[in-house]
């Protein structure tokens, strides 16, 4: 009897001990992993800080201005209307012409502004046309003919168009 109970207790204590040892080892491992992860997160955060600082540095207005002047043919916009009210063509149902599957309610705004009189823009905003468009395409020797005049016979407003009529309107926008 004594031997059996001794063995039982011995077995129990050994198994408890080893279980405890295992758990503590696992805890240690997890702890190390956590430290490593925390360290990596800290490093990532540090690089994020560096990157956002660099982003801000690269976006200095002075630098952007210099780059824009070098690479873009854009001028600062002026604060005035580019087209007068009479020169705006309204389209009753633009959704018919350009169905947009993503737009749910397509008929909310029947008076969508689509075109303005280009001549009006050209005279009021001589710089509105990017210089890049004037350049010859690479390889061509012939200088591209630049459209000189734009004309819309009569500005039409508040008229319902069919797609056929719309084509006609587009045609009137062509160069004479």
């Amino acid at each position: 009897m004594i031997r059996i109970s001794t063995l039982l207790w011995l077995g129990l204590s050994v198994s408890t001990g080893s279980l405890l040892f295992n758990i503590s080892q696992q805890t240690q491992d997890t702890r190390h992993q956590l430290t490593r992860l925390e360290h990596n997160i800290a490093l990532e955060k540090q690089s994020l800080d560096v990157l956002s600082a660099e982003w801000s540095y690269l976006n200095r207005p002075a630098r952007l201005r210099k780059l824009a002047e070098k690479h873009l043919d854009l001028n600062p916009i002026k604060g005035f209307p580019v087209a007068s009210k009479e020169n705006i063509i309204y389209l009753k149902k633009p959704a018919e012409m350009f169905p947009d599957p993503l737009m749910e309610d397509q008929n909310t705004d029947p008076e969508q502004i689509l075109f303005t009189n280009s001549q009006d823009i050209q005279t009021r905003l001589p710089h509105a046309r990017p210089k890049a468009l004037e350049r010859d395409p690479p390889g061509s020797t012939k200088k591209q003919e630049r459209p000189q005049e734009y004309n819309i016979a009569t500005p039409v407003r508040h008229t319902q168009y069919s797609s056929k009529q719309f084509d006609d309107v587009l045609n009137t926008l062509e160069v004479n």
Partner: protein, 568 residues
Amino acid sequence: MKSLHKRITTLQGEYVQNFERTRVRLFAVMTFFALAFIIIGFRLIILMGPNAFHDGTPKASAILSSTEAAPRRGNITDANGITLATSLATRSLYADPKYVNDAAVLAQELTDVFSDLDYDDLYTDLTKDRRFIWIKRHLTPKQQAKVLKIGDPALALQTEYRRVYPQGSLTAHITGYTNTDGLGIAGIEKEYEKALLKGGSDLQLTIDTRLQYLLKTEILKSIREYKAIGGSGIVMDVRDGEILAMVSLPDFDPHRYNTASENAKFNRNTVGVYEMGSTFKLFSTAAALENNTADLSDMYDVSKPLKVSRFLIRDFHRIKRPISLTEVFVHSSNIGTALMAEELGTKKLKDFYRDLGFFSRAEIDIPERGMPIIPGRWRDVTTLTASYGHGIAVSPMHVVRATAAMVNGGTLPDPHFVKIKGTHEKPKLSIISPQISARLRGLMTLAVEEGTGSKVKQDHIWVGGKTGTAEKVTERGYTEDKLFSSFVGVFPSNAPRYVILVAIDEPKGTKDSFGYATGGWTSAPVVSKVIEYMAPMMQETRHLTKTGFPELEALRKYIKEDEDHAAF
């Protein structure tokens, strides 16, 4: 064994007693040991449990053999989220002289890496009887690699945070700067030290970096053109006091604040106080209208200089006929304004100026705030000169705030740099009535359309404003060749959103300006350019056109156009 047992069981009397005693003792000892083992066992379980090996902070791993320093300071961003100030982790090198083997060799090796360190100083430091000496703060990655190559056991690295201002000098006067230990010593960095350091949270300013740049480049152009010694400018929202841009030139690099001159670090907008000149006519006229001592139709004789005791009040451009108060403002007549102030009286003007905050430091959330200069004894002649901005010196920030109150319907806003989150309604201090405010808007617009501020006139947006040209006081008294020329403008002046003040310090007239260096020539074009670029940029002013402006039209009948006045 068996025989012994038999013998014991047959024992009698005294022996039995001894045996019993032994058993009790044995049991006591066993219980004691059992308890001890149980306690030790529990302790072991606790030690090996989930919190084992954890002393609260994770130990720095072997890769980063450096210790963590002070907590990280929060970032400062502009209104659009552009970083204006951030803290980047760097390594700083220190040594423990106790572990130095050969100070001479180590000092030589270190001076090879850091050319700016002095060998002798380093040697004395390394041989000192101390446990900690800084060798170099904020190493570059290259320097760090070289130091690791030296591999001396006395050397160690510590992680520190270095304050970086990606926009450089552009916002230096606003953000301020921190010292080597990362403590704010100027600007927002100082004012919001607790929030940045303890909270570690990010701070969003109301500044728009694009406008800041626009304002700076335009002021710089004017300074160069008129060979001025400095310039300043503020753009503020008239309704809630948000500062969108604030420029003080010359400025400095906040990373090298210790080598910057005091002149560059001087904030002309909040610390500098100046006699602002004619821009004050806006406030004295408002005081007269609010107190009902004058009306815009009242006529004043400005043909002769005004003599008050030993002072002589003169006009820049002499007008040889009686003019209305409207014309006094539009053509900026000192004589007319002084006559108007005489009717108003000293007490009412002083009270009005006090209400506008001219007698106390500027209301703004940076520590650099200058005290206005008010005459110790306010005589009656002071009232006259103060009505056109002489004899009283305030900061440009004072003027911007007061101008906002003149045009926004009459309430004094609280200028601030840090975006206020949420809406906590503060009782607004009302200075003038909305009706008077509307008349002043018309008056300021008329000064631009017909008077001294004509260079600010825009084709597509209503702009109002007032020029100001003050002679600076030198040892020889007021001098004509040292001017402080300013312009304060509001736009769109029929429904004001922004107030812009630009001041150029000591401009010299040029051939193009016919020798003039007044506010209308030097500062007004700056304001004009800023409005021209800014109006299409801001959401609220993007689609505006010059629509009807009844307050302006109502004033036109008070001005005569028979004379040809130079526009400044």
